[in-house]
């Protein structure tokens, strides 16, 4: 187990793939936003790739360990120090009981992962330990970590000194630009040709009003087909209104003229159209993009997106360890 000295900014317990299978009851999957980094972190410490660990956002926590263990740090670089000494990333590290691990701000990327041999042993709810704080479930009491909490850790045998080879790690961009895959639909026929061209060619700036529920984008206006502008009144007044419908995870949800990507803790239904959907293979990039950075969207097919997700999945095992 370990004690939370400083909680950081909304640091939470997450597992992968999260709380799957309850979307029809309004439960999102939650889970780590950059599941590529998260899964590799678990492989490093000898866990199954989906084992519960910590997601740290922008400002990391300080933790004091109460027993000897092995941990790994992956994802964003939060300049971690163990007892004041700089700590390597993408490598399993031995921790002695009584030692303090301190993370600071993310200098590259936005979300860091701390994985621990044996995993975080909070009670699962609906098959997952992931925190979904809007419903107050999962993780540590249904919310982000708080100072002075004692976090339980399961039994596990990690081995220090294992590294993820460089080619198997996600490349966290430092030029403030990200190419994000997008699949057309489900409501792509509500947007006219010019609207589609603008979406796929524009620079979309990530707003600071973005969190694990939705990523809000700033960019050009959208334009619509008659399906959006000449419709039955029950759909609502705005062109982007539609009679309430189910949303896919990753939907680019158009609220008036503002697109919001519905991510890990997003809503499962509502009355706005979703002209595009960001597939899961691109979620790790959303997780590492910071406010003010630019997203450019690239149209892919469902088959291409699934292939890309499978390629990432294939990297999250022993073959990536050196």
């Amino acid at each position: 187990m370990f004690e939370v000295i400083k909680p950081g900014l909304e640091t939470s317990v997450q597992d992968w793939p999260g709380r799957y299978g309850y979307w029809n009851q309004g439960f999102p999957p939650s889970g780590p936003m950059d599941s590529w980094s998260f899964r590799l972190g678990n492989v490093l410490v000898g866990n199954e790739p989906g084992t519960a660990g910590l997601e740290c956002q922008y400002i990391g926590p300080s933790l004091k360990f109460r027993r000897d263990t092995v941990i790994a740090l992956t994802g964003a670089n939060m300049q971690a120090k163990l007892e004041g000494e700089s700590c390597p990333m993408w490598e399993s590290i031995s921790i002695l009981s009584g030692q303090t691990l301190e993370l600071t701000f993310a200098s590259e990327g936005a979300r860091a992962y701390i994985t621990i041999a044996g995993g975080i042993a909070v009670e699962p709810l609906l098959g997952s330990r992931s925190t979904f704080h809007k419903a107050g479930v999962g993780g540590m009491g249904g919310s982000a970590l708080r100072a002075e909490q004692i976090v339980p850790v399961g039994d596990g045998k990690g081995e220090p000194g294992r590294r993820v080879r460089e080619a198997a790690r996600p490349l966290i961009r430092t030029d403030k630009r990200w190419e994000i895959e997008a699949v057309a639909g489900p409501n792509d026929d509500w947007i006219d040709t010019q609207g589609h061209e603008r979406f796929l060619s524009a620079d979309w700036k990530l707003s600071s009003k973005s969190d694990r529920t939705g990523f809000r984008l700033e960019g050009p206006d959208w334009s619509f087909t008659p399906k959006a502008t000449n419709k039955l009144p029950e759909h609502g007044e705005e062109p982007s209104n539609i009679i309430d419908q189910g949303y896919p995870l990753g939907a680019i949800n158009l609220a008036g003229q503002t697109p919001i990507i519905l991510v890990n803790d997003g809503p499962s239904m509502g009355g706005f159209i979703n002209p595009y959907t960001v597939p899961q293979c691109a979620f790790w990039k959303l997780g590492q993009a910071k406010p003010g950075e630019i997203l450019n969207f690239k149209l892919v097919t469902v088959a291409e997106a699934q292939k890309s997700a499978a390629e990432i999945g294939a990297l999250c095992d022993e073959s990536s360890i050196e």
Partner: protein
């Protein structure tokens, strides 16, 4: 002693509460960042006078680690 107050997170500058020449006490809020729809206040580490302010209210896409306010 001079203190440099750096940004503890990437994000936008929501509010700047001090200007050059202001007297501040340890713990006074100097400015508030916004990220993930949350306010992240930054406080004065010590008593002093604000010597420089390097951030503007409304600035977007700031990087963590940059020096925002100098206190002497």
């Amino acid at each position: 002693m001079a203190h440099e107050v750096t940004l503890q997170t990437a994000g936008n500058m929501w509010k700047v509460l001090v200007k050059i020449g202001d007297t501040v006490k340890a713990g006074d809020t100097l400015f508030i960042m916004e990220v993930m729809k949350m306010e992240v206040p930054h406080e004065a580490p010590d008593d002093g006078v604000v010597k420089a302010v390097h951030v503007e209210e409304g600035a977007e896409g700031l990087d963590a680690g940059m020096i925002a306010v100098e206190i002497e």
